[in-house]
């Protein structure tokens, strides 16, 4: 693999449960 210039940035992920909350609030917001 090609030599990397800079390290990749770790993207912090919400947990499944937090995503579930997002989904629920999304569904509540949508008419």
């Amino acid at each position: 693999p090609t030599q990397r210039q800079r390290p990749r940035v770790l993207l912090k992920a919400p947990t499944l449960a937090e995503m579930e909350e997002m989904l629920t609030s999304e569904e509540e917001d949508s008419p």
Binding site: A13, T15, L16, L23
Partner: protein
């Protein structure tokens, strides 16, 4: 006139560009509205996963972390939504279990982490993500895959459950073997299955259906093995539990029927090259109970043989089968109390569980072994049937 020069695959970089505002449409067309029996039938296995990953690649290429986060979150929530809506449909659950796993494998295969690049071509290594480490999202996807797998087990259990007792115990697969009615008991079923009852063939046909759907969806072979092992465990546990609770099932001829049925299930495993799945081993308690119905039960030597043979049954289960055992005809004696005492004495050191019934609801822990794909991303084309015209191959 602008000449539309068809670009060769070698010019494509295996990414898909889409506008941020088109993300909801992407999730709707690729996840929420996609019917596994519809257009999805003609897709290459795992195509939705590859498309989603190629979109992630482009957002990573743009170094747009918001776009990556939004797409991953919408993808995960989209899959959860569709499984809430159609989560009792085996094809839907199998389809999204396969695609969730393929998406997870892509995130690993193209993560840039050495351990996941061993099987990559040099071109695939050029396609690794450049800006973001998505290890935390991989963990969330793995948690999602576990949830989907458990949902798949519930769905197949609901389909199999009504077939098991009838097909494995009541229906006389070998017609006439219990021609002689067990003394004092009305014969429960005719040798030809009545209309509406399930037979062993019903069970095997259902296993075939499950297996072909999972193969059609491109489910990882190691995962198919785990699903089959779980199915066989359910069949074995439900059959044994009913045998332990029903006097009319504890006879020599029923032992013969069960052994024949188990041999047919083993034949199915062999046909599907699934003998290493561990499925056969889950039937061992049932196999031993069937043998127990057929062996001699009189002398100390018989007791010794039974204790050696029944290492997958608890003492409570062995005693129960011996108590329920019903001689085939008046010439045969019932199992004596003293013989059962001998068995109990010989097994008192076993200290096994006092539990009589098997836990038919037990789900084996699932694993998703890394399974890289040889598919070259730059060759992937998006069928018009998916309605994704707003996405551009890059």
């Amino acid at each position: 006139h602008p000449v539309n020069i068809p670009r060769k695959e070698k010019d494509f970089q295996g990414m898909l560009e889409y506008k941020k505002e088109d993300e909801p449409k992407l999730i709707k067309n690729l996840i929420l509205d996609l019917k596994p029996r519809g257009v999805a039938v003609n897709l290459i296995p795992g195509l939705p996963a590859y498309i989603l990953f190629m979109c992630v690649r482009h957002a990573d290429y743009l170094n747009d972390d918001q776009k990556v986060r939004s797409l991953l979150t919408s993808t995960i929530n989209g899959i959860k939504k569709i499984l809430k809506k159609r989560g009792d449909d085996f094809e839907t659950v199998s389809f999204w279990l396969s695609n969730t796993c393929r998406f997870l494998h892509c995130l690993k295969q193209y993560s840039g982490e050495e351990g996941f690049m061993k099987h990559n071509t040099s071109r695939q290594n050029e396609h690794c993500l450049t800006n973001f480490d998505l290890a935390e999202y991989r963990q969330v996807l793995s948690d999602l895959a576990i949830q989907i797998y458990q949902q798949l087990v519930r769905v197949l259990e609901n389909i199999l459950q009504p077939m098991i007792v009838s097909g494995m115990l009541e229906h006389e697969t070998i017609q006439g073997v219990s021609g002689v009615k067990p003394t004092g008991l009305r014969k429960r079923t005719s040798s030809i299955a009545d209309e509406g009852t399930y037979t062993l063939d019903s069970i095997i046909r259902q296993l075939n259906t499950f297996h072909s759907i999972m193969c059609q969806h491109g489910m990882d072979p190691e995962l198919i093995k785990q699903v089959v092992k779980q199915m066989f465990y359910i069949i074995g546990a439900v059959t044994l539990n009913n045998l332990l609770l029903r006097k009319d099932m504890c006879s020599w001829s029923k032992g013969m029927q069960i052994r024949y049925n188990v041999s047919q299930l083993e034949e199915w495993l062999r046909d599907k090259n699934l003998m290493t799945s561990g499925a056969k081993e889950t039937l061992e308690p049932l196999i031993q109970a069937a043998q127990l119905l057929q062996v001699k039960k009189k002398t100390d030597e018989d007791a010794e043989a039974i204790c050696c043979m029944c290492n997958a049954l608890t003492t409570a289960q062995i005693v129960k089968v011996l108590n329920l055992y019903t001689p085939v005809n008046e010439f045969e004696e019932r199992v004596s109390v003293s013989f059962i005492r001998t068995i109990q004495m010989r097994m008192r050191d076993r200290k096994d569980s006092p539990q009589l019934l098997m836990d038919a609801k037990h789900i084996f822990p699932v694993t998703f072994p890394f399974n890289p794909s040889s598919l070259a991303l730059e060759t992937i084309q998006i069928p018009a049937s998916l309605g994704l015209g707003f996405i551009t191959r890059v």
